[in-house]
Symmetry: C2
Subunit: 211 residues, 2 copies
């Protein structure tokens, strides 16, 4: 009824986005109504239409800037020169990735919506490209570090950096999908550390001292 101050308006905008996360997660993006979003936010549909042109724009606003912090933190570890072995940097980066997920419930929620509760089609088709792009970038970054590992001599014999990077990327993607599908349950989450350790151990040059 009454006009709010700019700060309050920005706050209601965030309320709407938060409500959208809740509603999208519960009913799926396509099945969700802007009235449901408005109700959960304690507002009217008019407020939603004031801040966003339609559901599609609200969806994109919801997922904007949730991936960047994850990517930034992982890259920081991946390219950290402090590790004696490049393989250690990759292993630490993988751990960092799932640590970020563990810390941010919002990120988990948005990822679940993007993977399970959203039909990747039509207007949201841009989404697919935006989801793929960070992945491809990650693939290339990891490949560079694997290359450094090869030069460093820490790779097991006969392993090609390109193939290893693709395999690691598949591993990360698969693990992410599995965690999301299981709702980040405690069991699988507890296994993540060990799986990363195993994944990297398989790539390391075996210690031949006992041979």
């Amino acid at each position: 009824m009454a006009r709010k101050s700019k700060k309050e308006a920005e706050q209601t905008r965030q309320q709407i986005i938060e409500a959208a996360r809740t509603v999208f997660q519960r009913h799926g993006v396509a099945q969700s109504t802007l009235e449901q979003v408005a109700n959960v936010a304690g507002l009217s549909r008019g407020a939603v239409y004031w801040h966003f042109r339609n559901k599609s724009e609200l969806f994109h606003a919801m997922r904007a800037d949730v991936l960047e912090p994850m990517i930034g933190r992982v890259d920081a570890v991946l390219f950290d020169e402090g590790y004696a072995d490049p393989l250690d940097a990759i292993e630490a980066a993988l751990r960092e990735l799932f640590l970020v997920l563990d810390e941010s419930a919002t990120l988990r929620q948005v990822l679940e919506i993007m993977v399970l509760r959203c039909e990747q089609v039509d207007e949201l088709v841009a989404l697919q490209a935006e989801v793929e792009r960070p992945g491809d970038a990650f693939l290339q970054k990891v490949e560079r570090v694997y290359h450094r590992a090869a030069l460093h001599g820490s790779l097991a014999a006969g392993l090609q950096p390109a193939a290893l990077a693709l395999d690691t990327w598949i591993f990360v993607s698969g693990l992410l999908h599995k965690l999301i599908a299981r709702g980040f349950d405690a069991y699988l989450s507890g296994e993540v550390g060990g799986m990363i350790e195993l994944h990297m151990r398989l790539r390391r040059r075996v210690n031949l001292s006992g041979c």
Copy 2:
């Protein structure tokens, strides 16, 4: 207008399912209309409602019995006693899995719909369980074979069958998702064989003859 024979009726039922695959893949399940399905099938909505109670039932009919042949063929290879090394059986089973995918365009289409073009929620929530179940079963089967490999002495040192099975399952899941996301493009499809080979090679006991 005219009543069809039973055979013709079954044929139109298949036409509807085929049209549903086309429409669902293009627009997403939630955004698809039964009229769109009817149009693509060259029928009226009445025909669709005659054969299926609603969109949900049509969806379930569409995906019924598309996974079974895949599971059956993979299991047949996985449990084939003819392989000298259990790890060879696992590797062959993985190849068989992606060979089935390569052979059946319908299976690829349905998988794409289930993974990308469908909001896993509400009535379709049963879907998630049905997608997970074969996966869990696969996990257990692979674990048993890894166990046999351990007894057979073909596993590299320090590797636990349970962890390996989980890792292989993650690998398969990740590779599947990646292929689907890329629309089974030629590049990635060509890499599959090499990736499977790499995945299994990392688990095999290294030949110490040159040591």
